[in-house]
Amino acid sequence: MTLVKRPALLIPLIVLILLILVPMALPDSQYEQSVLLWCFLFAIMASGWNLISGLAGYVSLGHSVYLGIGMYTGAILAEAWDVQAMYLMPLGALAAAVVALLIGLVVLRTRSHSFVIITIAVLLSFLLLAANLKSLTGGSDGLIVSQPSWAKELGNTPYYYVMLGILVLTVGLVAFVMRSRLGAGLVAIRNDEGKAASIGINTTVYKVTAYTLSAVPFGAAGALWGQYLGFVNPIGAFAILASVYLVLAALIGGRGTLWGPVIGGFLVALFQEFSTRFSGGVSARVLIMGIILILVVMFMPAGLLPTTRAAWQRRKARGSSVKFIDQASIAASTTEVDTSAIASRVTHRGDAPEDILEVRDIVKSFGGVTAVDGVSLTVKRGSITGLIGPNGSGKTTLFNCITGTYQPTSGQVVLTGQDITHAKVWSRAHDGLGRTFQITRLFKSMTVLDNLVSPLERTSPREMVAGRYSGDEVERAREILSFMGLQEFEKQNAAALSFGQQKLVELAQVLMLRPSVILLDEPASGINPTLIDKLATVIRRLNDAGTTVLIVEHNIPLVLSLCDHIHVLAEGRILTEGTPAEIRNDPSVIEAYLGPDHMVGAPHA
């Protein structure tokens, strides 16, 4: 163990040892232990919440519902089976997980606003259920949870240790998720959910998994908490205030960090205790917690931990010198990497049919407007195919139908012989379809390298629990970066790069999927001519290595020089197709772009 080198682990370990010693060193500390128990509970809840709301960015305002489910599971089964409620912690966790799974499947279909509100509605529904299912829950009066025989003698101490144990396990769970591909995928979803799907992250499975896992610590803690309190009633078990306070805890400490919610949980529990004790009861507590919530949101939204970390890094950075990266020469550099070595690493499906991508009679209407009106085209294996057409001709709509952003009104999209018309965006990525975006959509809070290791080639439980950097991704990512001459930028934040560089990084990211067909959406728009040349070189090399490319582009000289075959769209239909030479000399193309007047006596090349 190299704890000395890792103060991030050393400090929590010391705190843990001190917490273990409290009941032994201070035998008369029943009150202090009860306050710390309260702290542990809030730290557990804030950490659990962090899995779905901190990592994936889906703010749940009703998460204490899972504490209540654990409490009721413990109380009801303890009575029925005549056992101690605290032994039923695993069942409390299981019940919470099952309910979360079912609710998650419905609730996670909605986005930010509705999600927040439905989480509140779920909490309130359980409150009403508990109050009304009298035969099971005892109605509003609740249930008494029988106390163990040692209760009088040992007091709070056994609960104290068990709750501390749950806290340690919860932090371990969060740490494990954060280091796994699941965690990386959740952060990607928080950054840009649509983009995450396009690089093969099965967003539904990821979100539902995170939501289900986040309920587990609540359920386990609930079974224990119910017995500690000695009774369970609807208002205590399904309190909306507890849900808000635990969110406040995660917020104060720092959402999305490992230790932030733990620190925040302790602080919020202590705030509550002190404001109740020293300022006159519950009314003052509600007021004080409200004011703290307002202040944190307004002045420290990132939370304590990230804010101090940022301040610390600014201090450290003040003295150090700035490293200058010669961007111009990097942009111009042609890399001396063996292309054939890259080839097998970036493309893998050699046995694809001749027509690798087929679009059959696609129609897409928006209300009364038909943007694409019966387009069929094929992309030959190993070709660079262009799709051009004037503004409003339906290029982007067609592109979106192929990538799955839109569902076509009718028609089929066939990739390597499979009908993918109705496939999810991520499964298209798994099937070998990679795409870039006209306006780049990199994960801006991540480094270039982290952006490159985010794509996933499949959805499987093994993939989700694997470490973020566990396979050969890092090695492959570095190869691709140096193939593109971007190795200098590996550790930069994606947001720090120029737009043109971001386009290259996005292409590199797509290559990590080993796609058989790459769709480029206006790759040359908005970037400087040097980078356009470089992009053309990269595309040619990828093509030499066996990758099929479909380009939508307005830069006609680039398309004419790069493509083997070009399709021209106008007014939602295929106007013509052919080799660059044929397209260059086709009068109908010129007419489509410039209008019929242009033809009258105007000289043109």
């Binding site: 930010s112 606003h113 509140i120 009403l128 509600v286 919530l293 307002i294 949101v297």
Partner: protein
């Protein structure tokens, strides 16, 4: 005949709900903010009404314009003082800010008014209007009609005035509206003020119908958010439909299966969201299309 009675009561309650929920949905439509403090605004207005009525004994309905104005100004101040700073951080943070406001307000009301039910009982509190077999309690009747009238007035204002057009323009496309000279901040402040105003008016109406105490704000948040989710965020017609569904569900459930009335409504919401994740009249937003 009993069905007609239940139907009428449900529609009257729906009128009050519609007014309150359209405040929430208007704020959302223009600002992208889920105003979870609407319930506390409502309770604030109702308790204030009680205080004035208790002290002076005047007709509570006269306070409608006063409370509308007071809450409108308070909404404007909350927007200019706090929300405008937090808005760029996105919906998760604004909802938490408004929760903070709701808690702080509840705390203040608790300290000032105590944690006890307060009832405004004007002379007509227990009277009813009988039309044939139909018996309509006067407070419900007044509240439902006044609520509907105020809502119609707001709707006409949004449809016909320049400021209303500017608001709707901002709601549809902030940047586009800014380009043609509509200040997003001004229209947001106006929208928030109107939204809070509906709570001011609604608070007076609630005060003559129900006993109120500070923590009842949670019941109101739950109802209003349920309506808005059901109707589709940002859609005023959606809010009206959602409100009528809630009013009718509650009144039918209260008549036939009393203890399940609220749960019934949540059940309806979950069922509808299963098939229409964006609510009945909600539009898919651009970020939804991205996947």
């Amino acid at each position: 005949m009993e069905i007609v009675q239940v139907l009428a009561l449900g529609l009257l309650m729906g009128g009050v709900y519609a007014l309150l929920a359209s405040g929430v949905t208007l704020i959302f439509g223009v600002l992208d903010v889920v105003n979870v403090a609407q319930g506390s605004f409502l309770v604030f207005s109702a308790l204030f009404t009680w205080q004035v009525w208790d002290l002076l004994g005047i007709e509570p309905l006269l306070l409608i314009p006063v409370m509308g104005l007071v809450m409108g100004l308070m909404g404007w101040a909350i927007y200019r003082g706090m929300l405008v700073r937090v808005a760029p951080q996105g919906p998760g943070m604004t909802v938490l800010l408004m929760f903070g406001v709701a808690l702080a307000l509840e705390g203040v009301l608790n300290i000032v008014f105590g944690n006890k039910y307060k009832s405004v009982t004007p002379p007509y509190f227990t009277e009813s209007l009988s039309i044939g077999d139909l018996v309509l309690p006067l407070p419900q009747l007044i509240a439902g009609v006044v609520g509907a009238l105020v809502l119609v007035a707001i709707y006409l204002y949004l449809r016909l005035s320049w400021a209303g057009r500017a608001l709707r323009a901002s709601a549809q496309n902030r940047d586009g509206a800014a380009l043609v000279g509509v200040s997003a901040i001004k229209s947001s402040a106006l929208a928030f003020a109107i939204g809070a105003m509906t709570a001011g008016v609604g608070g007076v109406l609630l005060a003559i119908m129900y006993p109120i105490y500070p923590a009842t704000q949670y019941d109101w948040i739950a109802r209003l958010l349920g309506i808005v989710v059901l109707g589709g965020f940002g859609s005023i017609p959606g809010a009206v439909i959602g409100a009528l569904i809630l009013g009718l569900t509650e009144s039918f459930a209260a008549a036939y299966v009393p203890e399940w009335s609220s749960l019934f409504f949540y059940g309806v919401i979950l069922l509808i969201l299963l098939f229409r994740p964006h609510g009945l009249l909600g539009e898919r937003t651009r970020e939804d299309v991205a996947v």
